[in-house]
Assembly symmetry: C2
Homo-oligomer: 352 residues x 2
């Protein structure tokens, strides 16, 4: 068992080995050595030793001293969803490219959980926090604010700091219009045949609903209140709403606007319970993109939110000095049925 085998080398070890002081070693290894007028030859020696002894800085020590950690946090509602997991994937790539370390945590859409999670992250002295899809962004803002932590909202806006969100109104309009136009002119959709399921009383849902209603009124001439069925995000609640509709009308609406892919799973569950229905006249629009959903046996028009665009914008905005709490809208994209788009995974090389 050689000496290099068990504990990690520190600047003190290298200091002894090199014959210089710990502060010199530190300066060399963190790049501030020119500023400290360290001789190139000394620096080279130390770099060499660091390499052969596999030195890596103890981030906790560094963070303690400098009150920065190199960690950048992303607070998500859930991982288990293509939209949010592609958010995580994209976020990670950006953070890594800045030489920092991403830390992605979910908080289940629970305001209390969101705040507690943010506090946990803060206790690790994270340097920045991206708050994505939070139920209570301003609550999280409070806890960031008291410790002076830079943060920004994504996907759902807050009122205290900038927010980068999908243009849900336009997206809602696009999707609604696409659903309506998908029906042939000789069998047009009636206003009471186009329903919206899913979502709840958050900014995104409200905007989508606003777009939905506006387009319905413009294109179909009417917009009955009963066609809006906000079920929350839980798949089972969505399923129950479909069941209830089906009970009452003996069929599904011809046109269905579903607020998110998670809600869409509720429709699948409903369908699994009705194996002999073939839902031949059904057209679905879903505010989220999933490649498999796009190929379902009925027309599924989808919205793909521009995750890359949102993350990029968020990084831009958060770098600004004193950003105003304005809302940055990122346009989503309409995806026709049977479309297989590429995603962040395609950027990866496939070894082997």
């Amino acid at each position: 068992m050689t000496k290099t085998s068990k504990k990690k080398a520190t600047i003190y070890d290298l200091s002894v080995l090199s014959g210089s002081s710990p502060s010199t070693v530190s300066a060399v290894l963190n790049g501030t050595w020119q500023k400290r007028r360290i001789k190139e030859s000394t620096a080279a020696l130390i770099r060499d030793l660091a390499e052969t002894h596999q030195y890596t800085a103890n981030r906790q020590a560094r963070g303690l001293r400098s009150s920065r950690s190199g960690l950048i946090g992303l607070l998500l509602p859930v991982h288990d969803n293509r939209y949010f997991s592609s958010m995580a994937q994209t976020f990670e790539a950006h953070v890594r490219s800045k030489g920092q370390c991403p830390i992605v945590v979910s908080a289940s859409r629970d305001p209390e959980e969101e705040r507690k999670t943010a506090e946990t992250l803060i206790s690790y002295s994270i340097d920045e926090l991206f708050i994505c899809g939070a139920t209570d962004p301003d609550g999280v803002h409070e806890v960031c604010e008291t410790v002076g932590l830079r943060h920004i909202n994504i996907d759902l806006p807050g009122t205290k700091v900038p927010s980068v969100i999908s243009d849900n109104y336009q997206g809602g309009r696009m999707l609604t219009e696409a659903i309506i136009r998908h029906f042939p002119a000789d069998q047009p959709l009636r206003p009471d045949e186009l329903y919206l399921f899913g979502g709840r009383d958050d900014h995104a849902s409200r905007e989508r609903i606003r777009g939905f209603r506006a387009v319905k009124r413009e294109l179909l001439g009417d917009d009955p209140d009963g066609c809006i069925q906000p079920t929350g995000y839980a798949p089972n609640n969505a399923r129950l709403a479909f069941e209830a509709f089906y009970e009452k009308h003996g069929k599904l609406p011809r046109g269905v606007f579903i607020n998110s892919s998670i809600n869409f799973e509720g429709l699948l569950r409903f369908m699994a319970g009705h194996p002999h229905e073939n839902f031949a006249d059904l057209t679905v629009g879903c505010y989220d993109y999933d490649p498999f959903a796009s190929f379902l046996p009925f027309p599924v028009i989808m919205i793909r939110q521009d995750v890359e665009g949102m993350i990029t914008k968020a990084f831009e905005v958060i770098e600004e000095g004193r950003p105003q709490p304005r809302i940055h809208l990122i346009s989503p994209e309409l995806v026709q049925p049977r479309t297989a788009l590429t995603g962040p995974l395609d950027a990866l090389k496939d070894i082997g």
Copy 2:
């Protein structure tokens, strides 16, 4: 601007406020105060102050001193995939329930990246590392070993520490058999009509292929080599393989075993390029579960790996003192077409 508003309270602040020493404050707030014979009334006072001043311990300082961080790492290939993201979701729940903080990072299936990522995590003094789906688990093991970090493999096995993986051989058998039996007796599948696409030279793929070939030989009497098409995991490579087959034979095989949902996306891309084909006689088996894929317009039989079971087992094994480097197999589950299963998200309450 009150004094509480800007910087975080430390034990020194509370020490002044309470009139006790920092070490007393520390002991009270980290639970070791009984051992230190602190008076209950003193403890109560300090707890009170901590509460009103919103004290939370600086984890970096604690970690520096104790060389533990409270962080538990999960190293994934990618986030952007239902299998791995549900891994993340489940992992997170387990870690949080132990009062620790999950840190989930992806390494793109790149051995070099995997090692570097592990080192980064180590520099934050993480307490344990779960290595999931790593291309080179033993490489990661090396870097963990040199610093004495407890770790375990999930999904793909290593040889140095315990591994908890899906029973890929059995799963491969189940899925292959289900595909074969899905064809009616009067139009049975011939051996050269059942292909396997995707995967590469890793343990999981090999085992699945072994199961696939064994069942083919048992049930169909033959098992031509050409029916195995390992394309790697990239969707586009899988697409190219389907294109190539289609070029050559003018159709797809009647039965297709796809190694993962990521590869399945390659099939979708192929299909998007052949809009007028209806692939009426196609049956797909996919080694992964995705609710939307399950409802595609052709029969899709899926395997759902028991993520909850694997994570639970992994936590059990890692707690053991000196676990042997054996492989723990977790049985996956066969999922019939048009099945909408619940997932980790269903455990969440839906607020609002």
